[in-house]
Subunit: 287 residues, 2 copies
């Protein structure tokens, strides 16, 4: 597999960075994952907008232009994938460490891009719905990092492991006040009496590009939708629930901590939004 | 400078790891920083105990033995420092990434060790005390990561940057319930009416090796000491306050958010404990 590192296309095994990089020492960095449909990344502009916003907050400068990133993604797609869907990950690290333990960095970031054939979630997750546990790990809504897709991603891995240990497919995380936030790499939606709801950014979550698209689709299709504080009980008593994730699109949730969500999974509004999302992708990417 | 990477002593510029390492992508890893006095690391056993405990929680396996780490540190000291004190950082990363976003890792960790001449804090911090701000970033006491010295360290860098932006030397962080936790790379103590207090681990903090030594010293010297919940007001109204940190030992705090702490900085108990700590180091390292 070929990868992009700092302007060069390299064999994966040749893409090396110093072990003393700030990205290694502190997880100082940021990333985006994007799904490319038949070689066309969906809403790459939104992903790069979010990347830029995160870089501003982390004071990461020296980020390549959108054009450079798009060209690298296109080249890697040609080399590694050729046809079909692709998984794209754009990663920036903080670069060289000079002993300064602030956000003042002496050098430019490393930019690392991977594009590989897309491997979707298990088909059964779409058919029967995901089995979800509630993680014991709490998100800090009082930390700006809860709203940045930084390389400080270990809590997400731990929560996913916790789900696996307990026989689940994935986990949802609560914030420190006990309100719902998100999945380990996805946003959470629920449906109650025909109304769609998702936790607000103030709850301590990363607002996804797919989440945004679903909010748009609700408006377009005249489905009532709100963002705000949502309690775990509201999820447990919901008629439907689903995750949104750029790679996996809309993934129904069948049960939470052993409690079945609604009467049927996937529920009718989940199916309708999943179909609408696929239409949106087709329309925007013109295929 | 020479460094240790995965069993080899290399020039710093040759110590490279894949950009696609889990340590880069997710900050999946753990570290310890230790001060070596004239080549002798102080309480390395405690640091390695903490490292092992963290590895168990993160399910990081393949960690070198304490003997291997000690030998690497001794060799790097000989090569890079020769005489005088040294700063030691032992870093482990999660190793190769196979797409599994849990704690199940397909390969061994990378082990990276740096030993370099010790550069202490500015002398004025010991003389006049540190000027501290209260960070807007909240620690999640409900996350196990608050108690592990993981490479997910970006919030600490952000809080330190925040302190610098506001004219401070460092920051203290509150937890999501508003209680005191720690500094950006140190533990926090306060003194009130001759009694010493420090936030308990349950507040969401990394219990330092120096913190532990100070608690021992309080017992030895008959100074009343307790750990538990401490409010910001208790810090602001304290007679004395100080940070503990392996590299910097005991560092007095002069003011918090512009409020002077006590009448004199450093205060008498801070001075007494700082002296006692130096004696302890001398005694244990026999010099």
């Amino acid at each position: 597999m070929k990868v992009y590192l700092d302007g060069a296309i390299l064999n994966e095994g040749e893409a090396l960075i110093p072990a003393g990089d700030r990205g290694v020492l502190f997880g100082d960095g940021i990333f985006e994952t994007v799904r490319a449909y038949d070689g066309k990344p969906f809403r790459m502009d939104r992903h790069l907008d979010r990347l830029s916003a995160g870089c501003r907050e982390l004071r990461l400068t020296g980020v390549p232009s959108d054009e450079v990133i798009a060209a690298a993604v296109a080249e890697l797609y040609r080399l590694n994938v050729v046809s079909g869907d692709a998984y794209v990950r754009i990663t920036l690290t903080g670069g060289i460490f000079d002993g300064n333990r602030t956000l003042q960095r002496p050098g430019p970031p490393h930019v690392y891009i991977v594009v590989k054939p897309f491997e979707g979630y298990p088909q059964e997750w779409y058919e029967r719905g995901m089995r979800v546990v509630v993680s014991g790990i709490r998100r800090s809504e009082g930390s700006p990092l809860s709203r940045i897709k930084s390389n400080n991603y270990l809590a997400n891995l731990m929560a996913k492991q916790e789900a696996r240990d307990r026989g689940g497919d994935d986990a949802v995380l609560l914030n420190s006040s006990g309100y719902l936030t998100e999945g380990t790499s996805s946003n959470l939606f629920l449906v109650w009496r025909g109304k769609v709801a998702t936790p607000g950014v103030e709850c301590g979550l990363l607002p996804g590009v797919t989440r945004e698209a679903v909010l748009e689709l609700c408006e377009e299709y005249g489905i009532a939708c709100e963002t705000g504080l949502l309690a775990l009980d509201e999820l447990l008593q919901a008629d439907e629930a689903f995750f949104t994730v750029s790679t996996g699109e809309i993934v129904p949730i069948a049960e939470v901590e052993g409690t079945s969500i609604g009467f049927k999974c996937p529920g009718p509004i989940t199916v309708r939004l999943a179909d609408a999302y696929k239409q949106l992708v087709k329309k925007e990417l013109a295929f």
